[in-house]
């Protein structure tokens, strides 16, 4: 991974003496160190997520999405180049095979993967907004407000979200993606709240906030102009972490057969595969492809998180 940059020649041209291999690598590392956003982890993570979004957009343009309906193709066809247990070979009309209902796998993931990502992003966007609001209020106002918010967040953090959501969702029956995101958002605001509260508490004591107070700054100015910009790296990190949590929760519900009933999502596809005995019938592509996509998504998010850590915390960046 560290060798992807290819400007060995420029390094040699700049320096009069020919550099050794180790020195060239050092020079490259230093260049990367100079601009934290050129972080390989961040770029790979972002690339993986963009690839999934691109799959959704380009897929919609070039693939026939009607294939997502039940019975639109032959049942249980394998991906191209494989044979199923009946000896049927994969066909190019359904390059990733079809499921037990005759739905095209490619069409399923073109619609399903962005849906899963959407639920995760929306849920954590709402969760983060609540978290920023409550965290700032608790940290800044202190006193009774702080007590209520802190105890509330602490109590909520101990409640296993899946348990409550299962009850909710079974009561609601069919839900839309947005509804599901809202429900999940109710369980991802606690940790950003605690994180921001802690940061605000320590920042409140800092010299520059005191200076701003001396300068006659209003509370809103101190919150949003002095404190918030310095919180951005934390907010980013916390956002990515809560996207991961939201997706895990959403997929967990879908695999249990809850969540949206009519809209394809990766979790729902896995649920149907398990329900139809795909494991016994060796229909590995049915559950395997959505699982693989989820794995790619999580690895992408993890890499972004690690990359952001290095951007915001220079001590993690290493030269050697």
């Amino acid at each position: 991974m560290s060798n992807y940059s290819t400007d060995d020649n420029t390094a040699e041209a700049v320096s009069p003496a020919p550099l050794t291999r180790a020195e060239k690598r050092q020079a490259r590392r230093i260049r990367r160190f100079d601009n934290p956003w050129l972080n390989p982890k961040l770029m790979w993570g972002g690339g993986l997520l963009l690839a999934i979004i691109a799959l959704g957009i380009i897929g919609r343009l070039i693939w026939d999405l009607d294939l997502v309906f039940t019975g639109s193709s032959t049942l249980k066809l394998p991906p191209v180049g494989f044979e199923n247990l009946r000896g049927q070979p994969g066909v190019w009309a359904n390059p990733l095979g079809t499921d037990g209902g005759g739905r095209d796998m490619l069409a399923l993931i073109i619609i399903g993967a962005p849906n899963t990502l959407f639920v995760g992003l929306l849920a954590s966007l709402i969760g983060m907004s609540i978290g920023i609001f409550l965290g700032f209020s608790a940290g800044f106002l202190g006193g009774r407000t702080d007590d209520v918010i802190r105890v509330g967040a602490d109590v909520m953090i101990t409640i296993p979200p899946l348990l409550i959501l299962v009850v909710f969702q079974s009561a609601f029956g069919d839900v839309t993606l947005t509804m599901m995101a809202l429900l999940i958002a109710g369980f991802v605001w606690q940790s950003p709240t605690r994180l921001i509260r802690a940061q605000v508490l320590s920042m409140k004591q800092s010299g520059y906030v005191q200076m701003a107070q001396l300068s006659g700054a209003s509370t809103t100015h101190i919150m949003f102009r002095e404190m918030l910009p310095n919180l951005v790296p934390y907010l980013f990190g916390s956002f990515i972490a809560s996207v991961t949590t939201s997706i895990v929760t959403a997929v967990g519900l879908e695999v249990l057969g809850l969540g949206p009933q009519r809209i394809p999502t990766l979790g729902r596809t896995i649920y149907e595969a398990i329900n139809a005995g795909a494991l016994i019938q060796n229909l590995w592509w049915w559950w395997g492809i959505p699982t693989l996509l989820l794995a790619v998504m999580f690895i992408g998010l993890l890499l972004i998180n690690l990359g952001l850590d290095e951007v915001s915390n220079p001590r993690l960046r290493k030269l050697s």
């Binding site: 230093i30 160190f33 520059y208 107070q213 001396l214 300068s215 700054a217 290493k318």
Partner: protein, 582 residues
């Protein structure tokens, strides 16, 4: 260059052409270049220089504990015949503590908070000499604690139960427990106040001469060095600019930088580093009320009283500097934050021009903020890292409605920067981390100047700034009074600077004012035992005015107990400032 008196055998430490570099994105930084120095057995060698001069880096290279990505790029380090740079990690581990001990800067952070003191001392013995029975370990840790003058029961306590000075002495005890050949002490007293500093330094000196090891003392305080070491090495930008005995260096410094360092230490009774200007007119005041008035102000933190009831009136018709001196925990910073309205008093009232600071409405509050400004201790924290430094100057200027447009703001900023000796083109558009502590503190002074408040509260404005810059920043602050007519409350632990800058001095001890009056009397000829204790603890850069070597004849605890019994001494008044004792 050195006198040849005690030259017994091989030196314990020989640095030869030592160079240390740090590769960074901007190129290789030469932290130390071609440094050669010997430390002999039983000798104390001081390394003095500003932050960034390479003193700590040199010490860490002897321990082979350089922070990444630093590396020794040339030269040799010889520790009593062993080539340090040739040792493997395991061999080096065995050499640390047993042959070379390191006493770190912040003792508060180097002790494990969840372990009692004794087991932490045993760890070092066990790591080097293997397991031994408990009684033997106990005997040795007791001996070490005794040698640094701590009672034996200290061993059974947790670090948070000890005071800063005691923790630092525990660190010294740990350092000497294996009788090392060389002790490296990296600013061991920088976090302590003067009284504790004297006690800790005397302990260190006594124990070092007892075990006869070499001592490498790192510091930036010329006075402390004069009181402690035999030889002095002056470092500047990684180079050894001067090396000799303390006497040679203090009496006949050769290098101009050394002369600067020596002259930057203000002396009580010595020549003033200020050049008083023509008295400025006080800012025209609309109110006939006194500028600042304390009415029986008292502050409690839980059961602890940080500030005993205190009343004073600062008239403010002629600009004055009132100094408040005391050790940490004396209540002086509490007083500062009460004046700024950050910290409401538990009892009593603070009146600014007749207005109670606690009960102001929004408009009055803005007016109060405009008129009462502050310079804080830590210039590193005072700037928001997200903005360029001019944000800190521009924002209040606009906020208080002083600005008549963008160009006016810009010219006011430039003018203020020039007044404190900064080049506006160079500093104003930088980010805070690109400026040194001294530059930042000057900018804060420039900020105060731009706003031209009626009252400035300067809370230890120079304690975190390099010694050579202190005098010039203080004279910047002094100019605020002299040229711009701002009254100043100067909060400090440094009696020597208070002596020079102030018109009136209050000495605080455990929340009480114990002595007050004009500085020439209070600091020049102290009468209260506590003030005397403070004066005696100052490390003078003067070999005639020695602390003395004995550690038994000087017991600060007993002296403080005595001071607590003595009643306050009031040494006369200055017009415009009234202090009511009681």
């Amino acid at each position: 260059m050195l006198d040849n008196d005690i030259r017994t055998d091989k030196p314990v430490l020989t640095l030869k052409d030592l160079s240390i570099e740090f590769p960074t994105p901007k190129g290789v930084v030469q932290a130390v270049s071609a440094l050669s120095l010997d430390i002999h057995k039983g000798r104390r060698v001081g390394f003095i220089g500003e932050s960034g001069s390479g003193k700590t880096t040199t010490a860490l290279s002897v321990m082979q504990m350089l922070a990444e990505p630093g590396r020794v790029s040339g030269g040799t380090i010889d520790l009593g015949g062993t080539d340090i740079l040739g040792l493997s990690e395991e061999e080096m581990r065995r050499a640390r503590l047993s042959r070379v001990a390191y006493i770190p800067q912040g003792a508060m952070n180097s002790l494990n908070p969840v372990m009692r003191v004794e087991p932490q001392m045993w760890d070092g013995i066990i790591a080097h000499e293997g397991h031994m029975d408990r009684a033997e370990l106990k005997r040795r840790s007791d001996a070490a604690l005794q040698s640094v003058g701590l009672p034996l029961h200290t061993g059974a306590l947790y670090p948070h139960e000890l005071s800063g000075g005691m923790k630092q002495r525990v660190c010294i005890a740990m350092g000497i427990i294996l009788n090392p050949e060389l002790i490296i002490a990296d600013e061991p007293t920088s976090a302590l106040d003067v009284v504790t500093q004297r006690q800790v330094m005397q302990t260190l000196k006594a124990i070092q001469s007892e075990i006869g090891s070499g001592l490498m003392l790192i510091g930036h305080d010329m006075g402390l060095m004069a009181q402690t070491v035999d030889e002095l090495a002056v470092l500047k930008d990684g180079e050894l600019v001067e090396h000799g005995t303390v006497q040679q260096i203090l009496e006949a410094p050769k290098h101009p930088y050394t002369r600067d360092l020596i002259s930057s230490v203000p002396l009580v009774g010595g020549e003033s580093f200020l050049n008083p200007d023509a008295r400025a007119e006080a800012p025209r005041r609309d109110s006939s009320e006194p500028l600042l008035r304390f009415e029986n102000v008292r502050k409690n933190y839980g059961a602890v009283t940080a500030l005993q009831p205190l009343s004073f009136t600062l008239q403010g018709d002629t600009p004055q500097i009132i100094s408040i001196v005391g050790q940490s925990g004396s209540g002086k910073s509490t007083m500062g934050s009460i004046m700024l309205g950050f910290n409401p008093p538990s009892e009593g009232r603070v009146l600014f021009e007749g207005q109670d600071v606690a009960g102001m409405n929004a408009a009055q509050s803005l007016e109060f903020r405009k008129n009462v400004q502050a310079v804080f201790q830590d210039p590193y924290a005072c700037f928001n890292p997200f903005y360029r430094v001019n944000h800190a100057l521009k924002f209040p200027f606009r906020q208080f409605g002083l600005s008549k447009g963008e160009e006016h703001t810009q010219s006011a900023m430039e003018e203020a920067c020039e007044a404190v000796g900064l080049d506006p083109d160079l500093v104003l558009t930088r980010y805070p981390h690109q400026l040194s502590g001294g530059q930042r503190q000057r900018l804060i002074v420039a900020r105060a100047l731009m706003l031209s408040p009626k009252l400035l509260i300067a809370d230890e404005p120079v304690s975190m700034v390099d010694a050579s810059l202190r005098a010039s920043i203080l004279s910047n602050i002094y100019d605020l009074k002299d040229k711009y007519g701002i009254s100043i409350l100067y909060i400090t632990h440094d009696l020597a600077t208070a002596y020079h800058v102030s018109d009136f001095v209050m000495v605080l001890f455990k929340g009480h004012v114990v002595e007050a009056g004009p500085p020439r009397e209070v600091i020049g000829a102290p009468q209260h035992p506590y003030t005397q204790l403070l004066i005696d603890s100052i490390p003078w850069p003067d070999l005639q005015r020695s602390w003395g070597d004995g550690k038994t004849d000087w017991d600060p605890t007993a002296l403080e107990a005595e001071a607590a019994k003595a009643s306050a001494v009031y040494r006369g008044d200055v017009p415009g400032f009234d202090l009511a004792l009681g």
